[in-house]
Symmetry: C2
Amino acid sequence: MTTPAQASETTYSVLAAQRSYLDRGSRSTQIADIVRTCILDGAFKPGSRLSEPEICTALGVSRNTLREAFKSLVEERLVVHELNRGVFVRVPTPADVTELYSCRRVIECAAVRGLDGNSTDLDTLHAALDDADTHAAQQDWTGVGNADIAFHKSIAALNNSTRLDRLMNDVWNELRLVFHVMDDPHTFHQPYLERNHAIYDLVMHGQHEAAERMLSDYLSDAEQQILAAYSPAVRT
Amino acid sequence: MTTPAQASETTYSVLAAQRSYLDRGSRSTQIADIVRTCILDGAFKPGSRLSEPEICTALGVSRNTLREAFKSLVEERLVVHELNRGVFVRVPTPADVTELYSCRRVIECAAVRGLDGNSTDLDTLHAALDDADTHAAQQDWTGVGNADIAFHKSIAALNNSTRLDRLMNDVWNELRLVFHVMDDPHTFHQPYLERNHAIYDLVMHGQHEAAERMLSDYLSDAEQQILAAYSPAVRT
DNA sequence: GCATATTTGTCCGTATGTATA
DNA sequence: CTATACATACGGACAAATATG
């Protein structure tokens, strides 16, 4: 397993490749976007400290601007800010995993239960399933994972609430942090593919209670599988 | 009704009274706390612009520190940040009200449905009801309002999720913004007091489905009442 | 346990671009 | 259109806290 390590000097070279994005929005939000993708892609590993001076020089921005960007990431729970010690990439605990799946259960199940007859917005669900099938045929497991995430994000989006969508977005970002700590996340999503199909079929046929039950079981199984495979780095 | 106005110079005098709080946490979070309470208390009205230089001088902090504080408030949706124009206290739209009540419905209803037999955490619910009764006897309607909020926050807290709690906290802060735009929010919560009692009794007797139905109706009625009384300031 | 070096927290001055009167 | 006010961003400075030897 990969133990969270101090980010070395050369680690920040990945930032240079992101500098081309510097042409839209305010500087601090641009910087936040760059650092966020670096964290989500695993370039900055959970537990590592993000050095202000090094990132500033790597991105060519002042410390003030970087600190503004950090504020957003703290709010998204991707990094933690320890006073006079700096910011660290968050290391989710098993309790975090449990909570994240509680959020998913509450929001996703509410979405399928709240559906009435008019099934207009279900096209995105179908598209995500097709996407997953395509990637699975090519044995592209990260592609399957992204499609799985898109499918369940689309379920949550049926609540028609941008606030819940934003929460789910943060939840999935945190789960990507969890996957980075896990041993082998590559094939994690694959076995759940046909259960997604089953849930979709039940929803399409108006069997909302059955769909909700199946979704709830799905989430419980996934949660347990993650907790079993989860050996978090101790950094308390 | 109170039309959202530009915050005049003298408006920032309310900040001086908050300066005594400057002794815990980091500066930017302290500043964020002060400005947040000023917004929630109505000292900074929805739609008004928050001038950087004036607040800086009023609070005796630098622009960098204030801008860091603003970042948090933007994330909480209490203020909006328009590029190169500054930050404004948010003016919730009717669509926002609808969405906020969608969030409440999803999260609060999930909480009462998810209850099993062991009713250990229901003491906070009872305490909030007692509190509301006390304030109602004294005709202290803002006290009743706070107790009403505490009661429903406690319901949401039964989900045992700090992330959902934080979302609900932001939701309630936004609703306080809504109340500041409304004509007469003072007695808004009072008629819902006995419905809270009824919901509590149903939960206590294990009648979760009935409690959920009553809670859902409660939320629909409150939403409609707010939308009817809501004359939002046009600031598009 | 102490002294030093590093890093953070905060503030200031200033230049540039943008929006508004 | 000009002028003013303001937000954006940079760089430098210093104190305080932390980490390191």
